[in-house]
Every structure is written in structure tokens, then in C-alpha cells.
Subunit: 411 residues, 2 copies
């Protein structure tokens, strides 16, 4: 079953405002098995809004409008919906009296314009609002339902939860929904998709969503079935081959980010870690320490942005820097060994690279080396990333965290 959501108000079309009501409504609708097929924000324009309502009602059985129920002339939702459904607006003495009482309670006189809020669409059920002046409305029209809800989130949330969800339960078929959530590192989105598409494309249910950002990929499989047992069985059926294909590139099954998963592994193994960063300038340390309790395993690190600092803080040999350059496998290994030696950590990660935008040395922009040192010695891996400075730096920290994660899980 599908729904559409419309937020009403020209103020929602400024560069600063985001329609957060639709996020709340989407979460609540998804919980009862309703998908949001589209959402929009429409300014204070009666005809434009009426057109949008008319088309949405023809497409989906559930339409929710938020905002535009205030007392001013800009508040056009009531009129637009009445126009779209070709119904009258009726003045409700009952609502007007309730509004008068509300104002009296606050020892204020009700302004004449507030009487607009007592206009009800012919045939609509009124949804009382105990947190504000604008009552909501629930209108049924040839198999579809249109909800008019107030814009302020605390009013909308309470009204939707207490008055709309119980009514929706009578309309929406009961469904059990289960989600499988995987996070993957060390692959591009297109490589991953090519690998697993042959599996998930065979199924409409569960629905698969793939999200990629900053070298991190999230895979959501959402199964909707008549019973929880069926949904779980379906997820197992589709999830198993996907998990087999991705193997240990899957780092998280609970939604936790890579730095938290790696932190958990370090803690479990009573291991500690330190870092030595050049082009990322502290970003790797920042990610480790963004996790509460990271002091259990993160000791500290060195931001060695210049060659002199690499020599002094980490003991990298000047002749090595001279021979191989700062952006090299040899320097990455020496940095990791130096950080481990100076902090006494179980593991040390190092990063050196060319983040751009202008190349500083011989290496092309986007070249990075990540070093890893432990009791057995050091190794370094290199990659060539595309994109701007921030992207290259973020991808490199992701690569470093994943390198250590795999080292620990494969040990």
C-alpha cells in the first residue's frame, strides 16, 4: 500500500528549511507496511495545491498534508482540498466554541481571523488538537483517505499517533516487516551492485536499497510478509547468498559504523592502537575517538604533516624520505613502525598521501598509502582515489580502518 505526503507553505521552500514532518510520517507509515511513493513541498498557492491533491488521490490510497491550517490568508490547505474534492467548506460552531475556550484559558481574546480555523470540509471527521489551535481533518473519498494535519511537529506527531494511526489500522492490511541491514567496506558501489544484483533482482520482496557514501556502503533488505516467521524466512533465503558473495567485506550487521565495529574488535582482543597521519591531518584519530569509550583501546597519535615532523616524531629516516618520497610505501611503513614503537600500542596505522588539489611532490593527486604495523612487522597498501580533497581524505581513513579490521578478524 502506498502513500504520498505534501508539506504546505512557502516558508518550507526557503534554503534553510527542511520538511522533517515527512520523515516522522514515513517512519510511522513504514512500520505498518505502507510505503511513501512520493513527497512534495508546495507553496501557498490554492490552485497548484488543489491540482496536486487531485492527482495524488487518483494515484494512492493515502494522502497526508501537513501545514497550512493556521488562521491567516496564506493558510490554504482547507480550501485547496475542498476545491480538489469538489466539496463545500462548512463553518463548525462546535470548533469555533472550542477555539474561544482555548483562547479564554490563555486569557487572550480570539482574533476574528481564527474563525477560519473552524472551517471543515463537507463530510470530514474533525481531529481535535490539544497542543495548538488548528484542528486536523480526516476525509475519505472513493477509496482514498486524505489527512490534513497541522505543521508544528509536536502537534502533528501527537495527532497522527493518537487519531490517525488507529483509523489507518482499519484500512491497511496487517503486515509483518523485518529488515536485514549490512554495511560493507572496501568496494565501489558499482562493483558491489554487479556482484549482488543477480541475487536481489530476482525478488520484489524483500525490497533492496543500496546507499553509498564516503567509501561506505549500506545494504537494506526489507521483507514484508503476513507473519514474522515468513518475513524472517524470506530474509534468510535472500540474505544468505548475498552474505556469501560479500564475505568478510561485510563489517557490520547492526548499523554501527566501521570505527565502532573496529573499536569493539580491539576491546575484545585486549589490543590497543595508535595512528600516524600525514595528509588526513588527524581525521583517522578523530574517527577512532568519535566512539564513546574509545579510550579503552585508542592510545593516541602523531600528526606529521611535514617531513621534519615525520623524522622527529616518528623516527622516519631522512635518507628514506629523500630516496622514496613522503608519499611512498616505505614511508607509510616507517611511520606505522614509528608510531607503534613510540606509543607501545599493539597496532599502529599510518596514512600518507597526496590529497590535492595541487600535487605537492612526485605522486599524482589521489595517491595514498596506508601502513599497518604490529608485532610481526609492517606492511603498506596503496590506492588511487578520485575526487576532491575531502573525499580522498575520507576514503583513505575508511581504507585504514578496514585494513586493521580485516587484519584482526583474519588473525
Amino acid at each position: 500500500m502506498n502513500a504520498e505526503i505534501i508539506a504546505v507553505g512557502s516558508e518550507m521552500l526557503t534554503p534553510e528549511r527542511v520538511d522533517t514532518n515527512s520523515l516522522y510520517l514515513t517512519a510511522e507509515l513504514n512500520k505498518i507496511g505502507v510505503e511513501v511513493a512520493a513527497k512534495s513541498v508546495i507553496g501557498d498557492d490554492r490552485e497548484r495545491l488543489a491540482e496536486a491533491v487531485r492527482r495524488a488521490v487518483a494515484r494512492v490510497p493515502i494522502l497526508i498534508l501537513s501545514g497550512g491550517l493556521g488562521p491567516t490568508e496564506d493558510d490554504l490547505t482547507r480550501e485547496a482540498v475542498a476545491l480538489a474534492l469538489d466539496r463545500k467548506l462548512l463553518f463548525s460552531e462546535e470548533i469555533a466554541a472550542a477555539l474561544e475556550r482555548r483562547f479564554a484559558q490563555a486569557r487572550r481574546k480570539m482574533a476574528e481571523i481564527n474563525r477560519r480555523q473552524a472551517l471543515v470540509i463537507e463530510g470530514a471527521a474533525v481531529l481535535p488538537n490539544d497542543r495548538g489551535t488548528a484542528p486536523g481533518q480526516w476525509v475519505e473519498e472513493s477509496g482514498a483517505v486524505v489527512m490534513l494535519l497541522p505543521g508544528p511537529p509536536h502537534e502533528l506527531n501527537a495527532m497522527f499517533e493518537r487519531q490517525c494511526l488507529p483509523r489507518l489500522a482499519r484500512i491497511v492490511p496487517r503486515l509483518a516487516i523485518r529488515t536485514l541491514f549490512l554495511r560493507v567496506a572496501g568496494m565501489s558501489e558499482s562493483d558491489l551492485d554487479q556482484l549482488i544484483a543477480p541475487v536481489y533482482k530476482k525478488y520484489e520482496n524483500p525490497a533492496t536499497t543500496i546507499l553509498a557514501a564516503n567509501g561506505d556502503i549500506q545494504i537494506h533488505l526489507r521483507a514484508r510478509c503476513a507473519t514474522p516467521a515468513e518475513a524472517d524466512a524470506l530474509l534468510a533465503e535472500v540474505g544468505a547468498p548475498i552474505e556469501a558473495l560479500l564475505g568478510d567485506r561485510i563489517y557490520s550487521r547492526n548499523g554501527d559504523p566501521l570505527e565502532a565495529i573496529l573499536g569493539g574488535l580491539l576491546r575484545q582482543n585486549h589490543a590497543t592502537v595508535s595512528v600516524a597521519e600525514s595528509c588526513t591531518g588527524g581525521m583517522l584519530g578523530e574517527r577512532f575517538t568519535s566512539v564513546p569509550g574509545s579510550s579503552d583501546y585508542f592510545l593516541g597519535g602523531f600528526i606529521t604533516y611535514t617531513n621534519a615532523m615525520k623524522i622527529e616524531m616518528l623516527g622516519v629516516l631522512p635518507e628514506m624520505l629523500e630516496q622514496f618520497g613522503a608519499v611512498s610505501k616505505e614511508t607509510a611503513e616507517a611511520m606505522a613502525l614509528g608510531a607503534r614503537r613510540r606509543t607501545g600500542s599493539t597496532y599502529a596505522l599510518s596514512i600518507t598521501g597526496e590529497a590535492g588539489p595541487d600535487p605537492g611532490g612526485k605522486a599524482p593527486v589521489g595517491t595514498v598509502y596506508v601502513g599497518l604495523a604490529d608485532a610481526a612487522g609492517a606492511l603498506a597498501v596503496d590506492r588511487q582515489f578520485l575526487g576532491d580533497r575531502q573525499r580522498i581524505r575520507t576514503f583513505t581513513t575508511q581504507m585504514a580502518l578496514d585494513l586493521l579490521r580485516r587484519r584482526i578478524t583474519r588473525a
Copy 2:
């Protein structure tokens, strides 16, 4: 002149995702005098999307679509727009070759599905994408223009700024718009508003917007007049009293962030800086080095997350840590002095604090100390921040950068 914006992708209809591209696009459109009349998010549904495009093109002269240009079968924007405008999709050998080169640069083989990204709508101008694989498209249709832009914000922003705005300038009637853009540190949003509201509330034009995030406040005054001279005069009239009230709390008049402004001051003064970070774990170094060319003044730093590291890396005295604790004025000063001594930098900044969520020592969560050392010695200032771990850490780095900025500008 009006525009509509459509974000494409079922993943944008989940409870977690917000279409931020439309905010950037709205800001840029408003600057050239174009208002956004409506915006929407539509899932991966070719017919639904084609219908929306058809109707939008009939309503407004500018339609911008973001997302859905990726290589997978879910990426339907190209096909939907072609369908809506009743045009063919043509395979471009040129784009395919450019994609192949891009993959070769990254030493990867292009997946077969990426060839979908070389499909161009008949008659469209191709907008090259130097930050990702998906090229954009610019299609003109009976007085309207339709732009197809990639979803990732850093790709969309660059493409819109460099390739769409110059083309739009030929279509949109000229209105002189001038913006005064101030960035302020070291104040809360409500304190700032109380101070300057009596000035800006008197004017509808220029329009004033105040945005606060992460301890940083941006003030935008936008004047729209018939001529540039009129707009400049109006901005001067309203801007002068605001600038006088804020004084040196204004750190930027060109939009540059604090780390870039401070970097410029350091470079001008032939000065260098190093950092010593505890609770921020590298975030201050990361901010310094996010600025291209920061190797001119940023030497490096120490992430001393444990007491042992503070002692070994920075020479903080164990008895001082014992007596005052790690989160103290004395420790902050000793950390800054240690970083300066060990790197030989002109200035050193240090951060120690309790970022939470659970208090680690005696200091309550949110207590932070920032130390500053230079040739004259060291000082430390403290603050108590509210909020979660990430907020406390971000505010603290902002405070540290601003402390050094004021030291240099007042010297």
C-alpha cells in the same frame, strides 16, 4: 521567474534521508532572483517520474532533477525525462570513452552497467562531471529548461555552479542582487539575534537570514534592487550598524570557514602552528589540514588520548596530572607548551576536555579547556558546552581556532 526541483530515488523516501540538494539549489536560484514554487521527491518509478516532469515543464520555465543518473537499473532519470519529452536516448561514444578513461585512471575496469551512464537525451547538452562518473544533461523544451544533475552533493554543486548558472544567466531576467555575508564565532545564536535584530527587523529588503551550526553563525543580508549601485548602497546602510555591533567577533566576510581565515593569517604572519589534542582526538588537526596549502603553516600535532601519552609525547609532568587532573587549565597549558617545544612552531593550540557521554574523571561532561602557547608563554580558557559528544568536540575546535585568530589579529 519560478523553478521546481525534483529529487529522484527511493532511498530519498526513507525516514533517514533528507533532500539537501534542494536547499543548495534554492539558495543559488534565489541569488539570481528565481523562486522555487514547489519541490518533490519521487521514487524509482519511470512512469510516475515522467508524469511529474511533464507537468512541471508545463508549469514553470526551470526544472531541476537531482539523482537517478547512476549506472544501475534503478537509475531512471534519463529514461523518465526522455519519455516525458518524447525524445530518444542516444548512446554517446564520447561519454563512454571518458568513463573508460576515468576508470583506467583509478586502475579499475569499468563495469558493463556503467555504459548506461553514456545515454544522452536527444538534443541535450552534456554537462561533464569531474567529480564522479555521472555526466549531467541540459535539455531545452518549448521555452523551458530541464536540468539532470547527479545526486552526490559535491558533484551536483560543482556542476550547477560551473555549468548551469552561466547558462541560466542567459535566460533569467537580470535583477541586481547583492549579498553581505558575515561569519561570526564565539557567540550563541540567541545572543547574536538579540544584539542585531533591532537593526535588521526594520528592513524587508535586504532580507536577513541567520544560520547557526557547530558554534559558527552565518549572517546573510540579501538586497535585491534594480541596479547594483542601489543594492550596494542598501547593504552598506544596513550592514554598517550590524558590523559595528559585532566588532571582531566577525571573522569572515567572504564565506571562508574559520580554519581557512586563520590559515591566511598565519601565512601572512609567516607563523606556524601545531596542535595537542585529547578529547577531540585529531579533529583540530583535521580542520587545519582540510584547507588546501595548509602545509605552509601547519606543522603537525600530537593526539594524546591517555595520560601516558600526554607525559611521553608532550612532557606533561605526572605530578601535575595527578594534582589537577587531565581536564584542567594546568594540563591544557602544559600540553600547548609541550607541543610548541617539540615542534618548534610559532603557536601551539591544545584541547583537553570531557566529551562524554559518561564522565571519565572529576570534570562534568561538556567541560573543556583550550590552551594556547607562543613565545610569551601559555594561557588556557575553559568553557562548558551542552550536547552530545560530537557537538562538544566540534564546538571546542571552533573555540580553539577562534582563540588563536583573536590572538593574532589583536597582536
